[in-house]
Symmetry: C2
Subunit: 217 residues, 2 copies
């Protein structure tokens, strides 16, 4: 059976193909029936991590989504937990546009009405907070981490586990990761293994939805 | 790799194993990595289709969920779009309890903010209406269909396509099926093929979430 072809937009600017393709490769590991084509926006070497970078990013996301849809990709993933450009891209492209943040929040809510979020900022991305509503019981961030790049250090990974374990102590049923930098470092698998928690990874959640949307059975 | 074992609760009482296992088999076709064990509640030969049957059903669903969780099943699907007993079962079992109605609504919202629902009652199941909120643009039901059993006739299937096509004319981006009887008759595939719409099937949506929740990668 021919693979479904899905576009993935990174909001971390990089010319290293290994870094660029990390989320797409993760999704293809989970869904061998998907071929994920990845591109990144320009001008964001530190990613999207606050309102300013988000506002700078979204029009570039929309432009890339239009380009990828015109090339025949069957769904577009915006691989950032803030969903930059998702709403706007939906206005101008015909294929499903799937945000990592909203997808992860919806998958978490399909599992539990008691959800905690673990991101890289003090505030949960607005789109996730809006979807989660009163189900968002707690939120945390790893100490000493400000951008997705900080997450990649050993110290960053340890701080993620520490923050997750604090949220577990608060009675979290499902932990939703509120930054796709967490996907990059494989935080979901680490947290499941070390803390035995139900964890939703934003890049994989978006892949899950994209996979379903491109099934024709 | 060992298959993840998931429990599925039908709220249509039947002693015909083929009918009983229909949703579980559908889910296993989509997710070969899942083994789905199905049981049904007693006393509901016409399923759950209104508030009275829903209130009669939910305590039986909770009892079955407890039984299945005690047997070591890793997640429990309640395969009914009204999510009978889902909230209550979550209070008493430790594994994820996944409702077909809420899962389908969340998967639909991950794809679009413009959703229509197609069920078997005039009203969309309350849990789905609550999740969809203002994204629920329209709702329809097939003419002449009152229970899941009515759906299984050729006339029922034709009425489903007719109702879907009316919702398409109203500008629906994503159609969510608001009754798992639609899963039984394969309505999602028919609608995709005949009308080229994005359709979310409630049993498959629940399977999608159960599959993800039982992944350990």
């Amino acid at each position: 059976m021919a693979k479904a072809r899905v576009g993935l937009i990174r909001v971390l600017t990089t010319d290293d193909p290994e870094v660029l393709n990390l989320h797409g490769n993760l999704i293809m590991d989970y869904f061998p029936g998907l071929e994920v084509v990845t591109r990144c926006i320009s001008g964001h070497p530190r990613g999207v991590f606050d309102q300013v970078t988000e506002e700078q990013a979204w029009p570039k996301v929309v432009a890339l989504a239009q380009e990828m849809a015109a090339e025949g990709l069957q769904a577009i993933i915006v691989s950032c937990a803030a969903d930059p450009g998702v709403k706007q891209a939906r206005e101008v492209v015909d294929v499903p546009v799937i945000g990592a943040g909203s997808s992860a929040a919806h998958v978490a809510l399909s599992l539990s009405a008691d959800v905690a979020a673990l991101g890289i900022t003090e505030d949960v991305p607005a789109v996730m907070a809006e979807v989660l509503g009163p189900a968002l019981l707690a939120a945390g961030k790893p100490d000493g981490v400000e951008t997705t790049v900080d997450l990649m250090s050993l110290q960053g990974k340890r701080a993620v586990l520490q923050a997750a374990s604090e949220l577990k102590l608060q009675g979290t049923q499902v932990l939703v990761l509120a930054c796709t930098g967490m996907s990059t470092i494989g935080a979901a698998a680490d947290i499941r293994r070390e803390l035995n928690m139900n964890v939703v990874d934003p890049a994989i959640a978006a892949g899950l939805i994209a996979w379903y949307a491109t099934q024709r059975g």
